[in-house]
Amino acid sequence: MSQNNFFRKSIIDMALIIAISLALAFIAHALRGFPPAPEPRTNELSAAELNFPIIEAELVEQLRVQPDTVVLDARAASSYTSGHIPGALSLPVGLWSEHLPRIRHQLEQAGFIIVYCIDLYCRDALFLAQGLADAGFSNLLIYEGGISEWRQLGYPIEGERP
């Protein structure tokens, strides 16, 4: 069979597989009743709904130099090491409770805790802030623009590889 024929036949076959799958999915869910859609998780809520103040880059720049401000980077550790807001501490959202003891003391002393992640579309900062709020921390601020906006606006980056 020529390669062209194979791909043409495969597209038809794959459409058949998808059609059978959709039909089976529909029948199965109709028989057992469509399960209810899951409850929205914490990180599906907006910052406003969670009552965390959202701040702009300019305020981050002013606050981060204050001795009682802690800036938290919610991204994966590998992203943190390739460049972060100067003085920020790494607290990857997926592992935050494991890493918390390392920086708990600093967080307890902090006047403000600023949390950021990648950009406007990244909800890791919100998720981390909610986790920290549940753990009893307050004065949490969200820098929604994240590292992308920070970089774009020309603010300093620490730990960036040349």
Binding site: I17, S21, A37, G94, D124
Partner: protein, 146 residues
Amino acid sequence: MNLPAFKGLFFSRPLHLFCRFFLGGLFIYAGIIKIIDPAGMSAAIDSYGLVPRFFHYPLALTLPWVELVAGVFLVAGLRTRSSALMLSLLLSVFMLAIIVNILRGHDHACGCFSSSTAIVNGGWLLIRDFLFLLPGLVLIFFNQRR
């Protein structure tokens, strides 16, 4: 190296049987586990942060069925090359999603063989998915009837 014999290995029936049962079985298992828990699957899709929220649940209700049906086709030897291509394409899409998230530094759940939302290491996932892709490639490119 005896090239024809080496090439013959890739066309051999036992290897094809192994590839079919391995890849097909893998997806049958993955599909069933996720069919049982659509809400968990939806949360795992959400954790990738790549698909608009509106599609999470419809995807969670249907994608595992595609995995299951394509897996059954492959194990049963029905439309073998096409079902191997289908599963390889699915694996490639998963790998692409993992690569995008590694590049943008976004941690996510796996959504592979369970609907758990525990965070996983993207690098290892990528290596594992690449190994899973190999049997599919053998079935697509070393087929007797091509």
